[in-house]
């Protein structure tokens, strides 16, 4: 069942990214570009996605996941420098190419060679992150 739910979730995610137009980099950059011809689509996608998720979070207290186990514990509201630095780096890359991890994967079948190059670079970036964390700690030890 765990695999069935994962496939269903991935399928809904992929279908949603496809029909919403979020694999079109010009729509993402068009939303970020407040000085250009602004494209509001991304706001509708984000808003639409938050509605079912907010309902799901409300169902969590007092229940268990369908496959058993436990739900993710509430996060400590700690704003680390990794969160800020990482999100800023991610945003810069997102703006440059108009792709984030989900749409980059969803568009692999039809986006052409440059989507594969992007995903390869993204995987490389993910692979070097553990050593990046070590360097960051050495450069400025966390308090």
């Amino acid at each position: 069942m765990r695999l069935l739910y994962a496939f269903l979730a991935g399928g809904l995610f992929g279908a949603g990214l496809f029909v919403s137009g979020m694999t079109d980099t010009s729509k993402v950059q068009g939303w970020l570009d407040v000085f250009g011809e602004w494209d509001p689509t991304l706001a509708f996608v984000m808003g639409g996605a938050i509605i079912p998720m907010a309902i799901a979070w409300r169902l969590v207290p007092g229940r268990k996941p369908l496959v058993g186990g436990t739900f993710p514990a509430p996060q400590e509201p700690k704003i680390s420098r990794e969160l800020v630095l990482g999100s800023t780096m991610f945003g810069a890359g997102w703006g440059l190419a108009g792709l984030c991890p989900g749409p980059a994967i969803a568009s692999l079948s039809y986006g052409g060679m440059w989507h594969w190059v992007f995903v390869a670079a993204m995987l490389a970036g993910m692979a070097i992150t553990p050593s990046l964390r070590v360097r960051l700690d050495r450069l400025a030890p966390a308090e």
Binding site: L32, A56, V67, G95, A97, Y110, A124
Partner: protein, 141 residues
């Protein structure tokens, strides 16, 4: 297209429903960078099958829907420097921050997570600034 926002909303609802299935079914947060990243750095070894099956769904559904559209232009940049730099930044940035648009954005904001909201503010500001600088000032993208 005039109905772009409607399809945006429909797509958004599908994405959020996927996140709800992953949360209520498997008790996990649907974050694309976390699901992929766990495969790359080995932290997801115990949940390998679940991650691969999820990603198979993400890739497969667009393949099934594609014939209904005929052609989809993603308008992706063909500048190797831009694409490689962007990929590296997205990969390292999302792993450092422990989340991207789906994890911090969709799943985080919907539970009013402070970390999710802060991350989203920073990646949108950085993204907006990058587009302004590289499109309007430098003319690279």
């Amino acid at each position: 297209m005039e109905q772009d926002w409607i399809w945006g909303l429909v797509g958004g609802l599908l994405i959020g429903t996927g996140g709800a299935v992953y949360l209520l079914g498997n008790g996990r947060i649907m974050g694309a960078s976390g699901i992929i990243g766990g495969l790359v750095d080995g932290t997801g070894r115990n949940t390998l099958a679940e991650r691969l099956v999820f990603l198979a769904g993400v890739i497969l559904l667009p393949i099934l829907l594609y014939p209904l559209y005929g052609a989809v232009d993603t308008h992706v940049s063909t500048n190797p420097l831009v694409i490689i730099a962007a990929g590296l930044l997205v990969g390292a940035g999302t792993r450092l921050a422990n989340g991207c648009t789906s994890g911090h954005g969709v799943c985080g904001i919907s539970r009013l997570s402070l970390r999710g909201i802060v991350a989203t503010v920073f990646y949108i500001l950085a993204g907006g600034l990058t587009v302004v600088v590289f499109r309007h000032l430098l003319g690279v993208i």
